[in-house]
Point group: D2
Chain length 349, copies 4
């Protein structure tokens, strides 16, 4: 059994990791940290885990963590992970980071988007972007995996086949993301008034318009796929869901193709992927169909009137958009079947 | 007192008209039709109206309607209104049509998008598109007003200032609409499984991708504003709200302008409008803030990185996106203050 | 025009008062207080009020308030109202208190349930319990009205006819209340994790089991109706609604009566009431039918198997359960029609 | 591998069985029936199951079923199961019935509550009521298990320790149940307007007042526990949840006991139960904490003021209130660990 720890488990992303790791057949959960909840049993903070674990939260001490785990998931706020990861790596402990700290290749992007220089340039240089559909081989060899953000997973998986195949024109790509509220509290169940039931219920709004920090992450991966710089106009939205993230991308096409032809390109691109389900003409992804799972449902529709393709994807922001995708990375790193611990069907309804 | 009737009041759009008209100080509600509910008291179908009216539903008979009302709101399915309107007009009864039947100027568009030739070309030729912010003067003189669809209201009000001012480039406009579920059942509380609580709750999905019938309506009005043909890539979404419609439009800019400059263009364009609230830099529209009202909250953000503007608007799909906007048209037609009967603040929370 | 102020308007109860008072034809809203938001325009805290008022929040200063208003609504936390009311009364300003501070006749009850002695025994002695259906005449003559709590309104209106008529046995009454989340934040949009969207959504729970402070208020009024002490077993619940409060009471019957007979007793008891709608056999109250209004829908069903009646009522916790009921009290105090400013039909759907 | 079939899988209860059985390590799902969906792949009706099974729905033919399965779950409407079960039993195929058809011991109860004589009195005589916490030994020996209704599970588990221990007085028990909407469509995703999103959202209502068919089931089991006839006053409610069922029972006590003493009685009664979690003083069950699982969280509070205990429980109506409890019965019948296939923690948030 591999010993696994979760650093920063007081938020929803951490909670979802606990849910998945507690029944993962190849690992033993040995430590869970939260400075705020230090000393409390997990089941006190998470009543759904009553009876399922006797672990208690431990304060975040990197050296201690390195001694009790073979691999550590980090669900810390950004800027915090990069303080812990170097310690873990010095002790040859593997790290799967769910924060933004190791996702961007260009250190300058951290200055631009996060207003802070990166503290661990060596780690940054060795980290692998943890989207298996694009970087499976590198992940398998990695000791530091930077699991992607929820919006980037939705946006990249929705459009990757078009960019990789050269079918997309690279200017004028527009991405619209709609996320459930657990995405907002991923690093802590934040009691911001905006996230109160009475405020978020029966409400839809855009936020971070033109400035959301997931933008450079989307652009980095799409640029790599296209082999040429790509800029996207990205707008995230908060919608009244606990879980779920729906992405709608409008991509200009380099030539006229039918929906059937485009779907065929997607089917080829995702052939053999255990967690991407390409839907055919007339089928429509819904977040409902992926809740609680690591699936990404995706399809594409051609619009000859505008010369564009409409690409849509549905994920669980805590699933493929976060913790479950992190567990898929774990499986790849250790050479287990990618479905290990991720075989529970989505929860419906 | 002007005598008002509602034709087709078994759906949510009709129900909202009843709510507004029952307390409109200048009108008397004299007739309400529904073939399905004919003979039933309104309060039996609409328990919220218990004690507020003794009217009963009447079967839809156009000649009879013409005798009991000075003006008729039609909340019928498309293709049905055009059978009733000619009868009303022959009797010099005014009509405010909430269906799609008189919105498109070009009869060919009905063949293309609705798969049916229009039956009342004379009416179509005289109808005025009932968006007061664009056509106030024509509405004031009209006897037949074609009240716009919910998505077009959101999309047009979000982008009109850019198109009218020549600041937009006309190619590559992308519009993403998110509607509450009452929009889907506007012409009848349809018991389609897709609209079941268990299916629509905790779910987001796109539908009508590249084919939604509100597309030509958006394009017609934006083209008129721009003075040149405009095509939009439009994707509607169903989100778990009873009421509310949020629109995010991405518009390429002809030149680089700051957010402050763009907001100023919007403020000028909507100066004096009683129901459009232009939000400034850093403020964000939310559907929460307009529920139950005729308000449209709108703002615009410049994105120099992509050379685009992100334009967002929030309306109540049954309010400014439907029935309340219809009542504003009524007020204009009769020369009353446009706020008459529409002065109740939005419902919060 | 009567000058009206709202003391403590940073919570949902205060917000609802603003919504109602801004369009009440007989009053002018002259002052709104919130220590936390002092100096901010109302529209900054309440985006739905943009364009509807230019008022700003003022710090809570009782002497100042007394100079700018003829009547003051207090939507303060309990224990705070009793500090302000004596000042207002010294200046002969009327007060309609939405807090719990003047609801209980017996000062000892404050010690028992609120763990604090009452500071204004004179005010307490003169205050009238502001439930018009029971105390209309006293309210009309009152200068200090203690508007009831949301659960008591639901529980009392559901059962009053049985207790007043002597049809109820007084032992073994069980009351189960289900409230929307705005009830919890009535005195401030509290950012307690329990009220986060992600926690309250898709969740039902009981709270304050056997200890909720609305219990003595229910018992006081039911005892007065019965002419003999009544104890109730009361359990409040939090359900995922923004607005709405549903009450289910089980009352043992002194003799066997049919549902039709019981409904008839209710119809007699509430004859002429403008805001209580008694539903007949086979009709069922729903919170949906009263949202945004001052209505209470109520019915009763006999259960010969158990010798009990099941009494159910539906209100909007911010409407008849709070602010709208407060406005009804205002109308009574000033001798206006009780429907003044409360004539908007419920919002549906 | 045991061969398992699901008869009647077009509703939510059947869908949840599929979710659980597809990853149950001891069984192979060999057949799924639905007359309405016959011939369709499961994944067409249930998009969440895309890629997880290649099975298609088969028409309901009892003889055919008997040939392809060792044990059949029936999620049919009541009155339908009793036509299929005798055929299965003739072929020595075991049956776990999720309908009401074999739950009531007294055939007369079917005439009274279901308005129809029972067609299979032999089966009825041999069926075991499938609540493991009360009837584990009988279930282990049974070939026909009548899995209980959702409300009865919540009501019985909330109160059983008080009735079994003699601490309860038997007259005046009041039970209030609040169910998510999937409970209503358990035997078919019914497109009744009452279950539309727009109608069920932001709405709470009671239904089946004094007449709900789960009443005799609750009374049968509580009477058996008490050793004396028990009548309950039961009121079910529809609340806006997809999943979840919360029960609040008020039980008169025979003598005065503290909450601590009562909780201790509960802890003893449920000692060793794998799926009942007894919460201590100050802890509160929530449906949130059990979603997607077979857990029942339960606690009890003493109210010396009224001489009653308030007993509350939280379950997932499709979990412990239905399909997951059915799988627990399966595990007992075959002698597997009761947690087999039921080990996934609840989904949070």
């Amino acid at each position: 059994m591999i010993r696994v720890a979760v650093a920063g488990a007081s938020g929803y992303m951490g909670a979802e990791l606990l849910r998945l790791l507690l029944r993962h057949p190849e690992v033993e959960l040995t430590a869970v940290t939260s400075d705020r909840l230090s000393g409390e049993p997990l089941a006190a903070a998470y009543p759904h885990l009553r009876g399922l674990t006797t672990l208690a939260f431990h304060a975040l001490e990197a050296e201690w963590l390195a001694g009790v785990a073979d691999v550590v998931f980090l669900a810390l706020p950004h800027l915090e992970s990069q303080k812990v990861v170097p310690v873990l790596r010095r002790h040859r402990v593997k790290a799967i980071d769910l924060s933004a700290d190791y996702r961007l290749r260009d250190p300058n992007d951290y200055v631009t988007w996060y207003k802070a220089a990166h503290l661990d340039s060596q780690g940054l240089g060795e980290a692998v972007y943890g989207l298996p559909e694009l970087h499976r081989k590198s992940i398998a060899a990695a000791s530091l995996v930077a699991s992607p953000g929820c919006y980037p997973v939705g946006a990249i998986l929705a459009t990757a086949p078009l960019l990789k195949s050269g079918l997309a024109r690279l200017e004028g790509i527009v991405v619209d993301g709609k996320s459930g509220v657990s995405g907002a509290g991923a690093q802590g169940r934040k009691a911001d008034p905006m996230y109160l039931y009475t405020e978020a219920n029966e409400n839809v709004q855009a936020y971070g318009i033109t400035t959301h920090r997931h933008t450079p992450e989307i652009e980095q991966e799409l640029s790599a796929l296209a082999g040429s710089p790509v800029r996207v106009s990205f707008t995230p939205h908060l919608v009244p869901l606990n879980r779920g993230l729906f992405t709608t991308a409008s991509v200009p096409l380099a030539s006229t193709l039918s929906t059937v032809e485009l779907v065929s390109v997607y089917r080829d691109f995702y052939a053999g992927e255990p967690f991407v389900r390409v839907l055919g003409e007339g089928e429509r992804p819904t977040t409902r169909a992926v809740i609680g799972s690591n699936f990404c449902d995706v399809t594409v529709v051609s619009d000859p009137r505008t010369g564009r393709a409409t690409c849509v994807s549905a994920i669980d922001n805590l699933g493929k958009g976060g913790s479950a995708n992190g567990v898929q990375n774990l499986n790849i790193v250790y050479g287990w079947s990618e479905r290990t611990g991720l075989d529970a069907p989505p929860v419906y309804p």
